[in-house]
């Protein structure tokens, strides 16, 4: 029983949050995210969604409101982009450190200076180390489904989840989306149980200063020091891999759509040349693969869906047949290379996977990434690899660098 509508990625995100019956929404307008929360405010104002929409003066406060709401047991949602996400940076750490299962949509946009309102993934990549789970979507269907999965993952492991999708390319592009049945979603997503119940009869001091050492409290409990508490966050992210995979599987069983869990494959059965990336650029690479296959290349795509926790074991398994890898990234760790490329290389350390890896920086600040351009890059890289160029510096695709 499908219920297909044509909608933008932002509408899909808002509908996803509505289906999850979020109880508190706080957000501040920023392109290209704005229409997510515009839709949510309409649902709330019309009474379709029973929730509090809390208006704030900044993104920092938007996430602070979600932190507070989530602490007292409300399912909280926010969304932002670019500078807005950067402005939240401090509270991103705070939400993760407080182990609050907030779900946020990051509608990916480049960051200033110079100003851009257009798409790349520098904003969320820059928030890599804040302790949030990061899921990158490749189409609008995956957005609505990932918001639903996001709450189930977040509330199971008490780690906030960032659903990332490319600005304009998805946020403002209409695609068919099969909207999940509301009752099925509420059966799939159990009510949120906060890890600490706040009540006047049993008061708590939340997030007091923790010292470098462990210390006994007034009841004689040997309380964690700062390092023990941070280790618990790391362990939660490590353990979340299995939850992300099982959540994806149960979603597939319930709704009939499998988004791949940690990563997804396209025509990789006999492929020795693998293209990889996250979000829309990986999706575009699938169109390049169809053309390359016709030319006789044994090529496929492995799309990285979850960037944090990093799917190290899955990557080692997925890439073991590869003879060469091309990484396409809409972000760069300045002074080094693409973050995904560097982490892929690190994942192969200590394995037998030793192969040429070429890194392409693409589509910064909204520059188009066409399948044809990816195809040309693949041809150039294959030639360079045959000539012995194993690991060149990152190449800026379709960019005047002379």
């Amino acid at each position: 029983m499908s219920d297909v509508h044509i909608m933008t990625g932002n509408t899909a995100a808002a509908l996803g949050a509505k289906l999850c019956q979020v109880q508190v929404v706080a957000a501040y307008p920023i392109t290209p995210q704005t229409s997510v929360t515009e839709s949510l405010s309409q649902y709330i104002e019309s009474g379709e969604l029973r929730a509090e929409y809390i208006r704030v003066e900044s993104e920092h406060t938007a996430l602070t409101v979600c932190v507070s709401a989530s602490t007292v047991g409300a399912r909280a949602f926010t969304s932002t982009s670019s500078q807005g996400l950067l402005y939240m940076h401090e509270q991103l750490h705070w939400a993760a450190g407080s182990r609050l299962p907030i779900v946020m949509c990051c509608v990916n946009r480049g960051v200033g200076a110079p100003w851009t309102i257009f798409n790349d993934q520098q904003d969320s990549i820059s928030q890599r180390d804040t302790g949030w789970i990061q899921i990158y979507c490749r189409d609008n269907q995956e957005i609505i489904d990932s918001v639903i999965q996001g709450y189930r993952i977040a509330e199971a492991v008490y780690v906030p989840v960032m659903i990332c999708y490319d600005g304009f390319v998805m946020s403002h592009t209409m695609m068919p989306v099969d909207v999940p049945d509301a009752e099925m979603v509420s059966n799939y997503l159990p009510p949120y149980k906060p890890h600490t119940i706040l009540c006047p009869e049993d008061p708590r001091n939340i997030n007091p200063v923790l010292f470098p050492w462990r210390r006994a409290d007034s009841e004689g409990v040997l309380c964690d020091g700062y390092m023990e508490m941070r280790y618990k966050l790391q362990k939660a992210l490590d353990d979340s891999r299995e939850v992300i995979k099982s959540t994806n599987q149960s979603f597939a069983d319930t709704f009939g759509r499998d988004h791949g869990g940690m990563l997804w494959h396209y025509r990789t059965e006999d492929a020795d040349l693998i293209l990889t990336g996250m979000g829309s650029v990986a999706n575009e690479a699938t169109a390049a693969i169809d053309a390359l296959r016709e030319e006789g290349f044994k090529a496929g795509v492995i799309g990285i869906r979850v960037f944090r926790p990093f799917p190290k074991a899955e990557i080692r398994d997925a890439f073991k047949q590869a003879k060469a890898i091309l990484v396409f990234e809409k972000a760069i760790s300045y002074g080094n290379e693409g973050a995904l490329c560097g982490e892929l290389k690190a994942a192969f350390y200590g394995t037998d996977i030793r192969l040429p890896i070429h890194n392409y920086v693409v589509g910064l600040g909204g520059r188009d990434v066409k399948a044809r351009e990816i195809t040309e890059a693949v041809r150039a890289s294959v030639g360079a690899i045959e000539a012995g160029d194993i690991e060149p510096n990152p190449m800026w695709l379709n960019c005047f660098t002379e």
């Binding site: 450190g97 407080s98 182990r99 008490y158 890890h195 600490t196 049993d202 008061p203 708590r204 001091n205 939340i206 997030n207 007091p208 923790l210 462990r214 210390r215 006994a216 409290d217 007034s218 009841e219 004689g220 409990v221 040997l222 309380c223 964690d224 023990e228 508490m229 618990k232 939660a236």
Partner: protein, 96 residues
């Protein structure tokens, strides 16, 4: 055996001593001169501004006024606020 900390985020229950015996943070110690302290002199409940201002809640509203030195951090707010100038901050170990 010591009980384990099962919290997944940092939290504490408000209780005396939750942050440890903080008196050893003290460098200067507030000492009350009962010949100047208003409730001590009048022998009735009055003033108690030291109790009101103490950020640690370690001063009593008794007569005479008592300071719990196990937890007093020696901030000196009481001495600053005392209208009778009855509280003096003295170096630890140089008790009057």
């Amino acid at each position: 055996m010591t009980k384990k900390d099962t919290s997944i985020s940092a939290m504490a229950k408000p209780a005396v001593g939750e942050a440890g015996k903080t008196g050893d943070w003290r460098d200067l110690k507030p000492v009350v001169d009962q010949t100047k302290c208003i409730p001590c002199v009048k022998k009735k409940s009055a003033c108690f501004l030291c109790w009101l201002y103490c950020p640690e809640g370690v001063i009593s509203t008794s007569i005479p006024v008592q300071i719990d030195y196990v937890y007093c951090k020696g901030c000196g707010v009481c001495a600053e606020e005392c209208p009778a100038k009855a509280i003096t901050m003295v170096h630890e170990g140089a008790d009057v």
